[in-house]
């Protein structure tokens, strides 16, 4: 029946049908209980309507077994909802290892995306079908939120930190992108499109447009420009640890704590070098706050990540 307007969103990702299945389960449970209560109220209100002004109904204090029953059964149902929802949630927050990483920088009131090949987009994101895509996101100002209804994913985009979301598109098409965390005057204008293409078409699009330098290469040139090489060389120096093979490793810090060297750690180390000093090193690294942009940080991180593969190649 074509009403001329949609009542249900498209399913365009691997996650969509899973979320919808859980949704329909909850709808079914809800319809059941709403019907039960409405019916009970209606039937009781009619059947037991007052027939004489001086009626004295028999007082009923309660029944323990009923209280237990209508506590335990609903609790059981909510536990099903909880577990099922938690499993989906866990999967939403655990991208596959082979995900294609795309960087997103949000700011009032636009979205900037950069592909690893260097291709940049504004308010638009091209992705291939059948390939997990992981977005590494940060904000330049206030909290935003990257929301793709057709893919059933959303994630707040924070200033000063990276957050990520992943999806795998299953249906070619153009889908809505909304900012879903109120961010000021043009919040409802901070929208865009996600274009899901067949892999071959995606490759064509990638090479078709203005070829950018890849993110890794951009990161490499920033690494040189800011003089990072001075202290962070292969094999390490007295001044700073080597960054080859660093990403993903557990790092021992001064004071005995450890931290996993993820994107947030690297970003913090560039902007706030004293926050987490590696054990055995002096706190001499200068801060690059104000010198490097959010895009630059993402490129540097891409470069540092690439040192893992380079190390594997050389060793």
């Amino acid at each position: 029946m074509d009403l001329g307007f949609p009542l249900f969103p498209e399913q365009a990702s691997t996650m969509a049908s899973r979320v919808d299945a859980l949704f329909f389960f909850l709808v079914a449970v809800s319809v059941f209980f709403v019907a039960l209560i409405f019916l009970a109220i209606f039937v009781f209100a009619v059947k037991y309507r007052r027939r004489a002004e001086d009626e004295r109904p028999e007082p009923i204090e309660g029944k323990l077994w009923l209280e237990v029953a209508w506590s335990v059964i609903p609790f059981g149902l909510t536990m099903v909802m909880f577990v099922w929802g938690a499993i989906i949630f866990f999967d939403i927050y655990n991208p596959p290892d082979d995900a294609l990483e795309i960087s997103i920088v949000g700011r009032q009131w636009m979205w900037k995306a950069q592909h690893p090949t260097g291709q940049s987009e504004i308010n638009e994101l091209h992705v291939p079908l059948g390939q997990p895509v992981k977005l590494m996101m940060t904000s330049e100002d206030v909290i935003h939120d990257f929301y793709l209804p057709a893919f059933r994913v959303k994630q707040d985009v924070l200033p000063g930190r990276y957050t990520s979301v992943w999806f795998e598109a299953t249906k070619a098409g153009v889908y809505q992108l909304f900012c879903a965390e109120y961010c000021g005057t043009q919040h409802s204008g901070m929208i865009g499109r996600v274009v899901a293409l067949e892999p071959a078409q995606f490759e064509k699009w990638l090479s078709g447009g203005a070829t950018g330098v890849s993110m890794i290469d951009q990161g490499a040139s920033l690494f040189k420009r800011f003089g990072c090489e001075t202290c962070h060389r292969a094999g390490g120096t007295n001044q700073g640890p080597s960054l080859a093979g660093l990403f993903g490793k557990t790092v021992k810090l001064q004071g005995g704590n450890t931290v996993t060297a993820d994107e947030n750690y690297i970003r913090e180390s560039i902007l706030d070098p004293r926050a987490k000093i590696v054990a055995g090193y002096q706190p001499i690294m200068p801060t690059f706050k104000g010198l490097v942009s959010e895009e630059g940080l993402l490129q540097l991180i891409a470069y540092i990540k690439s040192l893992n593969t380079a190390e594997r190649k050389t060793s």
Binding site: G255, D272, P273, R274, A275, P283, T287
Partner: protein, 215 residues
Amino acid sequence: MSKVEAFRQHHFEDVEQQHEASWLGMWVFLATEVMFFGGMFACYFVYRHWYLQAFASASNHLDVLLGGINTAVLICSSFTMALAVHSAETARRKPLIAFLLLTIVLGLLFLGIKFYEYHTKFEEHLVPGSSFRFEASLARPAEIFFSFYFAMTGMHAVHMIIGIGLLTALIFKARRGRFSAAYHTPVELTGLYWHFVDIVWIFLFPLLYLVGRHL
């Protein structure tokens, strides 16, 4: 009507009910104060956990001697307050007024020292805002430390000022002979409040002044 009955408000059945209600009311109020300060303490703990080195460095810029003196001053003031309550219980008006006055003096001494400390912080460019200056690599979290320092001790000072106001009102009432062995609830309740404000400081002092200090 007995002297005691004169103080019973019309909606209470007897003086005992009124007294119990007043006590419960003050304890509930103190519970709200715990939650109020608790919110700030919670934020403080989070940031201290993240930025321990900066917090320790910033904390070392606070004057432990003055803070320690202030702690002693407040503890003494709680003692004089307790003596005031005892005087009220034993219906000794002159000692009551004297101890209330002494408590106020100690409270004012505390505030005086506190504001002197604020003044030196201002001179040392440690007040958060555009004039804040600190060692570059620790400056950001250090500014957060000082934000908490001023917010928490400032909020505590506001409570002290209110307490001093209450004590002043008590002195006026005492001089008019309002209190007796049978009725001195306002003195007891103000005592409770004063002790609470003291306890807040007992937590604030080590948390703000003694981060990372070694004896």
